[in-house]
């Protein structure tokens, strides 16, 4: 039995008090750990998905919505824009790359993105099986899509209208899986990639392009197709080879200009950043949104909430520090006789001081480590329960350096809480204590 063993014995001796103090600290540490995991993993994910994209061009509406829908594939698109915009921007010398996106359909909750092979390259996607699409009605599956749906090469599937997966099915234009991507850790993992032409075809024919805000469960009331038609239809797709077979089915779309949902743009020169957004925003149908600006705005909005929760967690931690202090202080008052006896048995004051500090540190360390475990458990459980969080790339299996700082801070606080009670050992009058406390 050593003094360290005695520290443990004292903690065990008042087990309920010890457990409550550990619980209190566990809660505050877990809250902080959850915050750290959420904010670091989400902001990293945000950053990774938006890397290399300088500007997003889409239909007028909320710029944040445009960014969320076209980069992160989480919100509903703002609407559609004329296909002509692609050529207009590609001819701009300050623009390095334009990747068109046609959104609006999904398969079992996974979004079907009509785009070009450059989209896959942008995220560093590597074909794990099969090949990249070469024509319409061919699809390349993201790693997560392939895993979750169990789809293999050569299999056919039918996209459904809308992004929620309960829209009507485009049964007449099935897709064939021609390739499966290796995991990238980006939004690409949960997308189904196909040529833009497939989306046009799925929506009946060449003319009406991908339907942007296609959350409507069925093909009713597609009024958004009506307001941006300028009469000069079919102008851009003369060379396109589209399947008109289903045209009757999509009569509601009857004759529209070819459209896409959004364009991802990389600048060639910094001139573009100065000129392009204002130029685009002057167009009646278009808006330009910079991912960096919008995400900063979003994070600063979320940041207020995160700061509030963090302040609460820190307050909770201070409370648990105070609780450890009160527990040790009152316990040591009752143990003054023990302390005097330890001195009589030959223990030096620094050794007893260390033994009391150790008691605070053991409490804090138990609470801190338990808090980290609970924090990761909660994040893992949240990711397992809510698919959206998993889509965001949230995982309980990754540790952040900031957690070490939290654990050290908690342990330091435990030591600090024990400090004042422990200092008493240097002042205790052994003879008087032994005489008094009978």
């Amino acid at each position: 039995m050593t003094l360290a063993g005695l520290s443990l014995a004292y903690l065990r001796d008042r087990a309920l008090n010890t457990a409550l103090n550990i619980l209190l600290l566990t809660l505050s540490v877990a809250t902080l750990v959850i915050l750290v995991l959420f904010s670091s993993q989400l902001s990293e994910r945000f950053e990774r998905d938006a890397r290399g994209i300088d500007l997003v061009v889409g239909a007028k509406g909320s710029p944040l919505q445009l960014i969320l829908s076209s980069i992160y594939q989480v919100d509903v698109p703002t609407g559609n824009i004329p296909l002509a915009t692609v050529d207009m921007l590609r001819s701009d010398p300050t623009v390095a790359e334009v990747i068109p996106l046609a959104l609006g359909d999904s398969f079992r909750g996974y979004r079907i993105v009509g785009t070009e092979a450059a989209y896959i390259d942008h995220f560093g996607g590597i074909i794990a099986q099969g090949r990249v699409f070469t024509g319409n009605h061919q699809a390349v599956l993201g790693a997560q899509v392939a895993r979750q749906t169990g789809a293999g090469l050569g299999q056919k599937f039918v996209g459904s209208h809308g992004l929620s997966g309960d829209g009507h099915e485009h049964a007449e234009t099935p897709y064939e899986v021609v390739g499966i991507l290796a995991p990238t850790g980006t939004v690409l993992d949960r997308l189904i990639i196909t040529p833009v032409g497939s989306i046009w075809a799925a929506h009946g024919f060449t003319p009406p392009a991908a339907e942007g805000a296609a959350e409507a469960p069925a093909h009713t009331g597609h009024d958004h197709n009506d307001h941006d038609h300028d009469g000069d239809r079919h102008q851009d797709h003369a060379a396109e080879d589209h399947d008109h077979g289903a045209e009757g089915e999509h009569a509601a779309h009857g004759g529209g200009e070819l459209e896409v949902t959004a364009l991802l743009i990389k600048y060639r020169s910094s001139m573009a950043a100065v000129r392009l957004p204002s130029f685009i925003n002057k167009q009646t149908q278009l808006q330009a949104a910079a991912p960096a600006v919008e995400m900063t705005r979003l994070l600063s909005l979320l940041g207020v909430g995160i700061d509030a929760v963090r302040a609460f967690a820190v307050l909770l931690m201070a409370t648990s520090g105070l609780s450890i202090f009160v527990a040790l202080y009152s316990a040591l008052r009752q143990r003054e006789g023990d302390m005097a006896m330890l001195r009589v048995m030959g223990a030096r004051p620094p050794a007893i001081f260390g033994h009391i500090i150790l008691e605070g540190v053991l409490l804090a360390a138990a609470g801190a480590l338990l808090g980290v475990a609970v924090g990761h458990g909660v994040v893992a459980a949240a990711a397992a329960t809510f698919p959206q969080l998993q889509d965001m790339g949230l995982t309980g299996a990754r540790f952040e350096p900031a957690e070490l700082a939290i654990v050290l801070a908690a342990i330091g606080m435990g030591a600090l809480a024990a400090l004042i009670p422990a200092l008493k050992v240097f002042r205790v009058d052994i003879a008087r204590t032994l005489a008094d406390t009978r």
Binding site: L3, G5, L6, D338, M341, R343, V344, M345, L434
Partner: protein, 222 residues
């Protein structure tokens, strides 16, 4: 260690004042190894003060104490603690067993503090000697007064100190138990080779000890 010829306790001209008032004045005496000594005196005669000076817990106002040849009262605090740790075991009337630990763990802690290691075989032997084998894993609060007293004696002896100091070890006991306790102290001390110094106002113990020092209440003696 030191030679056996040197007295284990040597007290000379010892006096202690608190706030200018003399609370204890001890006659000069020595105790050799194996010379069990009874320190008798009425309440207020300063027995506990003398015990505290001998064990190095307080510094006397005048005079000096040598324990095993070393000047306890003149040593700096750290060396005083070391001398006490190595040479002296203490039994208090209030026992001061550590409540969070079992009897066995109390002994193990005392041993580790004194020797830097614990000797389970010796602990078991001592527990058996004081008749607590069946209570070895009990907490102090689960023990009777007599059992607790025996545990405290075993603890004082478990580092095999040269000197065991007991302050009023029998005052809470009835006649039969007081004598039995004194016998147990003498027996276990002899078994471990320790010398006893027992401070008491309990005349029942007088017949058990060949050597008695009497402490008079200060102001009365001179």
């Amino acid at each position: 260690m030191t030679t056996t010829a040197e007295p284990l306790i040597e007290v000379r001209d010892l006096r202690h004042d608190i706030a200018g008032r003399c609370v204890m004045a001890a006659p000069a005496f020595t105790a050799l190894r194996g010379e069990h000594t009874l320190l008798l005196g009425p309440s207020g005669s300063g027995k506990t003060t003398l015990i505290n000076i001998i064990t190095g817990l307080i510094t006397p106002s005048a005079g000096d104490v040598k324990i095993d040849g070393k000047p306890m009262s003149a040593l700096p605090a750290a060396q005083r603690d070391q001398l006490r740790r190595r040479t002296i075991g203490v039994v208090f009337q209030t026992l001061r067993l550590i409540g969070a630990l079992s009897v066995r763990q109390n002994l193990a802690l005392a041993q580790t503090l004194a020797l830097g290691r614990s000797d389970p075989a010796l602990i078991d032997r001592l527990i058996a000697q004081v008749g607590l084998t069946h209570r070895a894993d009990a907490r102090p609060r689960e023990l009777s007064q007599g059992e607790g007293q025996r545990a405290a004696i075993a603890r004082a002896l478990c580092a095999q100190p040269a000197l065991v100091v007991a302050d009023e070890p029998t005052s809470a006991l009835d006649d039969a138990n007081a004598v039995a306790m004194a016998d147990l102290l003498l027996e276990t001390a002899d078994a471990t080779g320790a010398t006893l110094l027992i401070a008491t106002h309990d005349n029942r113990l007088r017949e058990r000890f060949s050597r008695t020092i009497t402490l008079a209440a200060p102001g009365v003696s001179a």
